[in-house]
Symmetry: C2
Subunit: 131 residues, 2 copies
Amino acid sequence: MKVDHIGIATHQLDEALALWQDALGLKVDSTEEVTEQGVRVAMLAIGETHIELLEPLSPGSPVGKFLEKRGPGIHHIAVKVSDIRATLAQLKEKGTRLIDENPRVGAGGCLVAFVHPSSMNGVLLELVQRI
Amino acid sequence: MKVDHIGIATHQLDEALALWQDALGLKVDSTEEVTEQGVRVAMLAIGETHIELLEPLSPGSPVGKFLEKRGPGIHHIAVKVSDIRATLAQLKEKGTRLIDENPRVGAGGCLVAFVHPSSMNGVLLELVQRI
């Protein structure tokens, strides 16, 4: 198990990208628009994990609402799992509150599912299975 | 460069520890009290990085104030650097707002310094040099 990425919400992706590249010397792995989740995404490699910068496509999207409520900052942690359906089934059995009971397609075409912060110590946890 | 740990603020360390161990099968690397920063800390290994659970020793400590304002959740990201003084000097030259202009001793006896969220896209960034 490893941390796949750390998601950071930002109002302005290009500015945030310049900031993280300049401050820490990180390099961009990929950028894409994930319309299903209402975000523009840039991935910066750091060791075996990534900083994922997220700019909302609209104010009503989940990241847009987060920005309105809390401002820019750390949005979620994503953990890489080998079998996302098995992990979701185990969490459900333990009584964990899931946002997604079934995985959906996320950035980079991988399978993703979110666990509710109320069950994870206030942390929005994303499970990721890379295909 | 890699992510040294992800800091998560919690009201009750033992409950949070049980939760993260149970949900993701993580193992505890170490626990300690860092009186200088006013926290009880538990480190859980995940790949090359760690989840760092933080319980405040008092309500007036930085983590205590964070909990009062925002509730439990992700508190900071720590990045491992090889020469913390050189990194701080580079950041200062770029005009980055630093919380610590000089490193101090953190959990595990390493050198740490914090960068202000106002200069890092709302993210409280910790630099860590392990000795």
